[in-house]
Amino acid sequence: MLLIPCPYCGERAESEFSYGGEAHIARPADPEKASDEAWVDYLYLRTNTKGVYFERWLHAHGCRRWFNVARHTVSYEILASYEMGAKPPKLVTESEI
């Protein structure tokens, strides 16, 4: 079980959280004018990274707040957690994964 550091409550067991998928996916700024391709990109396409991945979690059975986590998808090591809206931290480059 993952031990997830909620930025507001501290480290808690994974079972308190629910998963929100890939982080930093921006909804098309002008939905009326967005192309089909832009919608596919927004709704469905995911990087599905093997390595350091930026993802969203919800502290569902705690403070009920969303936040971001940087986690390695092979070792499952959590490298950082940070608030929604914040830029992803500089951790490791692609070549170091």
């Binding site: 079980m1 079972s15 709704l43 995911r46 998808t73």
Partner: protein, 412 residues
């Protein structure tokens, strides 16, 4: 003059098993090749092959130089036919369509000089097995029985099969001469397998793409040039797509299963519950095979989380309270690629010539063999087969999703 010895007849007379090969290619050249391969006997077929007396003669001559016994299957249980084959030197004959004792007596009489028969030369093994249709499971017990009865009667039963397990089975039943293959089948399978390479322990490191078209695959052992590439890599579909420069509507998640200690038979079916989210069946070894959901998050770690096993076992105990005392022996996790609509993707990618077959994480073992055929056809014809046309990557643009969560009966 000493008559030539018939090694085959002596061997089966002594109860020694004889392994053979069926030859239909009607060529002395082919017979010369296979005669040196170590088979005890080779059947030269002139019933269902374009053989005539002259071509059989050439094949008998070709086989004569090798330690193998050629057997000729004559076209019919016919006095003239049998006489002429014996005259060109065939020592062993397989006579087709002998279905009554009277027909058997006739066949033998054609090989004997009077008064024993109408001809007769050297010796002919008196009884010849008749290879029939063996694929039908209803036929098999009849064949088993016939072999045993022929053997009990002191005769030599024989059979042709291309299936090794069947050959072993009929040898155990007492068959004395068994053809374990046919030259036509061997040639066809061998030719089919040429040019196919399985390269293990060799990861793909990239794709060479020019003007939007795939040129080949970069691997740890070098470049493989290819005009078309099929991508069927299960949990790593997203990683490979990334190397080719595009993204997929796929997430890779660990999915786990567990096996209990073996117990006596208690379940004769697969129990699956979408309500409590678990499935259980019992293996032939008696172990309960239990699964388990996927972890919620993306992971390539090839292990599942403890709480998923715990939830699954809780669900199983709810369904079957009597299983509560069982201990789990093994647990493992694999990486499954899951589409948002729980259906696979079989078809083209944004890279021309690069085809993909992925997204089977929800129900793969049920349909992946069939998907191989339509995937092959899609690659060969550069357009999908009717069965997989709807499973295109493009469905995520058009909106024609195939929501099969319910059909899959799983809840991840």
């Amino acid at each position: 003059m000493d008559l030539p010895q018939n090694a085959f007849k002596r061997a089966i007379g002594a109860g020694r098993t004889q392994i053979g090969l069926w030859s239909s290619l009607s060529s002395s050249y082919t017979v010369e090749v296979i005669a040196g391969a170590g088979f005890d006997w080779i059947l030269l077929d002139s019933e269902h092959s374009p053989n005539d007396l002259e071509s059989v003669l050439g094949q008998l001559q070709a086989a004569a130089a090798y330690p193998t016994t050629p057997i000729v299957r004559v076209p019919w249980n016919d006095m003239v036919m049998i006489k002429r084959h014996l005259d060109i030197g065939a020592q062993s004959l397989l006579v087709p369509y002998v279905s009554t004792a009277e027909e058997a007596r006739s066949a033998v009489s054609y090989t004997r000089y009077p008064p024993a028969g109408v001809r007769g030369v050297a010796d002919l093994h008196a009884s010849l097995g008749y290879p029939g249709e063996t694929a039908n499971p209803k036929v098999k017990p009849l064949i088993d029985d016939a072999i045993r009865r022929i053997r009990r009667a002191g005769k030599a039963p024989g059979i042709l099969t291309g299936v090794e397990a069947d050959a072993r089975h009929w040898l155990e039943c007492g068959a004395l001469f068994v053809a374990i293959g046919a030259d036509v089948g061997l040639l066809a399978r061998g030719a089919d397998a040429l040019g196919v390479d399985i390269i293990q322990e060799c990861p793909v490191t990239g794709f060479r793409i020019a003007d939007g078209r795939v040129q080949g695959v970069e691997t740890a052992k070098g470049f493989i040039k290819a005009g078309k590439v099929g991508l069927a890599v299960a949990g790593h579909a997203g990683v490979m797509a990334g190397l080719a420069g595009f993204r997929l509507p796929v997430t890779s998640q660990p999915l786990q299963a567990l096996v209990s200690e073996p117990i006596k038979p208690v379940l004769d079916t697969v129990i699956m519950s979408g309500a409590v989210h678990a499935y259980v069946s019992q293996s032939d070894k008696g172990e309960l095979v239990i699964g388990a959901g996927a972890d919620r998050y993306i992971g390539y770690g090839q292990r599942g989380s403890f709480q998923v096993s715990e939830d699954t076992l809780g669900a199983i105990c709810e369904l079957f309270p009597s299983f509560r005392r069982l201990r789990m022996m093994r647990q493992w996790g694999g990486i499954v690629d899951i589409c948002p609509d729980a259906s696979p993707i079989i078809g083209k990618t944004p890279v021309e010539g690069l085809y993909i077959n992925c997204g089977w994480g929800t129900g793969g073992f049920k349909a992946t063999p069939g998907s191989g055929w339509v995937f092959a056809q899609t690659i060969a014809n550069e357009r999908p087969h009717a069965l997989n046309a709807a499973f295109s990557l493009d469905r995520f643009r058009t909106g024609y999703l195939i929501d099969e969560h319910g059909a899959a009966g799983v809840a991840h």
